[in-house]
């Protein structure tokens, strides 16, 4: 700290060569505010803080401020506010108590000030005791070569029996829903129809209804009959194209007849 924080010398004045008879002024830069200054002054009374004469303390403080003024040292506002308050407290302490007065009595205020001084003092001592302990890194030491802890990531797989069963059920039922895996039992292919007709056409020398060519067992359901009819018709067209059969239909939607083409 290059500069006294609380007492700022007036610039154009030569520095006070001797700070005065009271050595306190020399120490002013070290004060942490008015309470701290009061505490230092109180210690000069050399009595237990609880027994301190607040009246005497107020007078000490006011004398200090007066002295600073005479040395043309400007005190920070805090110190002056405290001085004004102490002057007020002093007058209250000297006068007989005013029964009309509101708020805390002068004695209460004095007692509280004494409490604050004692508490501040206690915290100072506590801080000193704390700092005086065996401290880590100064007196006590941690392991100088700590071992690094490797982090290992372990994956825990989550699967329940129900998931397994669902998966299996899915596999076992999926096939029915495959578009390319529908049941072929109801499909009569053109290849099947061709095979069948090639065998039958030799016997059919005369006009025969196409329906006669449908295979056994395919008339039952509409789906099967439709499939068989379509396949047989397609097969008959193929045979006609190859020149093996002739087709005939009397009118629109009339039954289609088929016969073997006569060889010329």
């Amino acid at each position: 700290m290059s500069r006294p924080p609380h007492l700022t010398p007036v610039p154009d004045l030569p520095e006070p060569a001797v700070p005065g008879p009271d050595a306190l002024i020399v120490d002013v830069p070290g004060y942490d505010g008015p309470l701290d200054l009061l505490l230092t002054l109180a210690r000069t009374q050399k009595v237990d803080l609880m027994q301190i004469s607040v009246l005497a303390l107020a007078e000490q403080y006011l004398a200090f401020v007066e002295e600073a003024r005479s040395l043309r040292i400007e005190l920070a506002a805090d110190y002056l506010v405290m001085a004004a308050w102490l002057a007020f407290l002093k007058s209250r302490l000297l006068l007989p108590p005013d029964p009309q007065a509101e708020g805390p009595s002068a004695e209460d205020m004095a007692a509280h000030l004494a409490f604050q001084l004692e508490r501040l003092q206690a915290m100072r001592e506590a801080a000193a005791r704390l700092m005086g302990r065996d401290r880590l890194g100064l007196d006590r030491f941690a392991r100088g070569a700590p071992e690094t802890v490797a982090r290992v990531r372990r994956v825990e797989w989550q699967a329940r029996l129900i998931d397994l069963m669902r998966a299996y059920a899915r596999l076992k039922t999926r096939d029915e829903f495959r578009p390319y895996a529908f049941d072929r039992r109801d499909i009569y292919t053109m290849e099947q129809a061709l095979d069948r007709m090639r065998g039958l056409i030799g016997f059919a020398g005369d006009w025969t209804s196409l329906a006669e060519f449908l295979p056994d067992g395919w008339e039952g359901s509409a789906d099967r009959r439709r499939s068989a009819t379509a396949a047989t018709f397609a097969a008959s067209l193929e045979l006609a194209k190859q020149g093996q059969v002739e087709l005939r239909q009397g009118e629109t939607f009339a039954p289609i007849s088929i016969r073997r083409r006569k060889r010329t």
Partner: protein
């Protein structure tokens, strides 16, 4: 070092205290310390060699041992406790659909070959899927099948039974129970019909069709 000031030496601290000193120094030091390093810090007349010997006996068999590193000494964790020096973080992930299905097939059909799994699933099983199930510890290789090519078979493990709370694979619910539980569609099943490959185009759209899928893709992120 000798012959300098013959100041009447203070007696060195007793051996118990010297042992404490060496113990503290070795503990706090970032590097192993040589005997000379120890001696330099200890009061004159101390005998770090003896203190080290005593300490070594004291720590023998403990979780931390006094070991010699070159010509220096240091405390080290006992070798058998190295596993404590790692911190495990557990991450929970769900099996992917492909893995779950493959696992189900192995469980229901074991011992089962890769070709059979593919036949049932209708898609090629990526190598990663089975490898991962083996790594998880739920599937292992069984005997080779006595058929041409002697293909490997796969079976589920005890860890599998343990994880799924089964005593034996026979305890797996059968198809009729699955159906009763509403897990199977009510339609007459064509179960057992090996449709798979011959249905053609079986690879289409399946998520695990490619053999080249990285294993990461095997599992869904939860």
């Amino acid at each position: 070092m000798t012959g300098a000031a013959p100041i009447p030496a203070f007696p060195p601290p007793d051996m118990a205290q010297q042992e404490r000193m060496v113990e503290a120094m070795l503990f706090a030091s970032a590097q192993p310390m040589r005997m000379a390093d120890l001696a330099a810090r200890m009061p004159t007349g101390s005998d770090p060699a003896e203190a080290l010997a005593a300490l070594r006996r004291r720590y023998a068999g403990r979780g931390v041992e006094l070991v010699r590193v070159g010509d220096a000494w240091a405390f080290r964790t006992a070798g058998d406790l190295g596993f404590l020096m790692q911190e495990q973080t557990v991450e929970q992930r769900r099996l992917s659909r492909a893995a779950t299905e493959t696992l189900a097939i192995v469980a229901y059909h074991q011992p089962v070959t890769r070709a059979e799994i593919e036949e049932i699933r209708g898609v090629a099983v990526s190598r990663g899927t089975l490898d991962q199930l083996i790594e998880v510890g739920w599937v292992r290789m069984g005997r080779r099948r006595d058929t041409p090519g002697r293909p490997a078979t796969f079976v589920v493990t005890d860890a599998f039974l343990d994880h799924f709370g089964l005593e034996q694979t026979r305890d797996l619910p059968g198809l009729s129970e699955l159906r009763a539980a509403g897990l199977l569609d009510a339609r007459p099943s064509v179960a057992g019909l090996p449709l798979a490959r011959q249905a053609g185009g079986s690879n289409m759209g399946e998520e695990d069709a490619g053999e080249s899928l990285p294993a990461e893709d095997l599992f869904d992120q939860r």
